[in-house]
């Protein structure tokens, strides 16, 4: 895909994200993914701040990090670690799966109410983490919502 994008067969502003399922587990793997065309990288969900910090040294790509991971990939609840993750591993995208919840892949309309409830809880949990960051690390710089940034894959219609 990276090559197809380079050749213009796919839009040049297409963002390619590598999944947490790939679970790259060392700085070299992440560097390899970046060379292959990954714009952002999900690291192994159970990595300590120190291990992720070493990856940060090896790659420029923003890292996608679960402050809370879905059960299927660990179910780790790491809300309190987010300030130090921001401090030592930025640029990062903080995201939340939900511990203690059903895996709904592949989603369909038959599970609409469940998916909606899971999404609402993710929003609630995200606010908890947001508030924690405000309390513990006021100097953290967060991208402003609603503005267009080049590294975001905003749809073009």
């Amino acid at each position: 895909m990276g090559k197809l994008r380079d050749r213009g067969k796919l839009p040049r502003n297409l963002i390619i994200k590598s999944s947490a399922i790939l679970a790259p587990s060392n700085p070299a793997s992440c560097s390899l993914l970046e060379r292959l065309g990954a714009d952002t990288i999900n690291v192994s969900t159970d990595f300590s701040t120190a291990l992720i910090g070493a990856i940060r040294e090896a790659t420029q790509a923003p890292l996608d990090i679960y402050a809370e991971s879905p059960d299927g990939i660990g179910g780790f609840v790491r809300h309190f670690e987010t300030p130090e993750l921001i401090e030592h591993c930025s640029s990062i995208y903080i995201k939340l799966g939900l511990r203690n919840s059903a895996d709904i892949y592949p989603y369909g309309r038959h599970m609409k109410s469940l998916a909606l409830r899971l999404s609402l809880e993710r929003v609630r949990r995200s606010k908890l983490v947001y508030d924690l960051i405000q309390r513990e690390y006021r100097d953290a710089q967060m991208s402003k919502a609603g503005l267009k940034f080049e590294d975001l894959g905003v749809p073009e219609i």
Binding site: L10, N13, L14, K17, S19, L36, G153, V154, P155, I157
Partner: protein
């Protein structure tokens, strides 16, 4: 497993609010008829893109999403990043 109309509506929302909309490509080994992904030591392959046909299907997914306005995709296999 999204219709064109659904993907377009996602794209519309993202475009109006400057929000990235990222879609996960399919299919992967867990969708395929092979059974290794469900064996005790085979779980790790369930998200891989399995065989040349699944690469083609994944690319079709990505081309379709881009045609409908999507500008971000999530991949779960090293080879499909290349």
């Amino acid at each position: 497993m999204l219709s064109d109309a659904q993907i377009r509506s996602f794209a519309q929302i993202g475009s109006e609010r400057n929000i990235e909309v990222c879609l996960f490509t399919t299919p992967r080994a867990k969708f395929d008829t092979g059974a290794l992904w469900n064996a005790p030591a085979g779980k790790f392959i369930q998200w891989q893109v399995r065989g040349a046909d699944q690469i083609r299907y994944s690319l079709d997914d990505i081309f379709r999403a881009c045609d409908l306005g999507i500008r971000s995709v999530l991949l779960s296999d090293y080879a499909s990043s290349r």
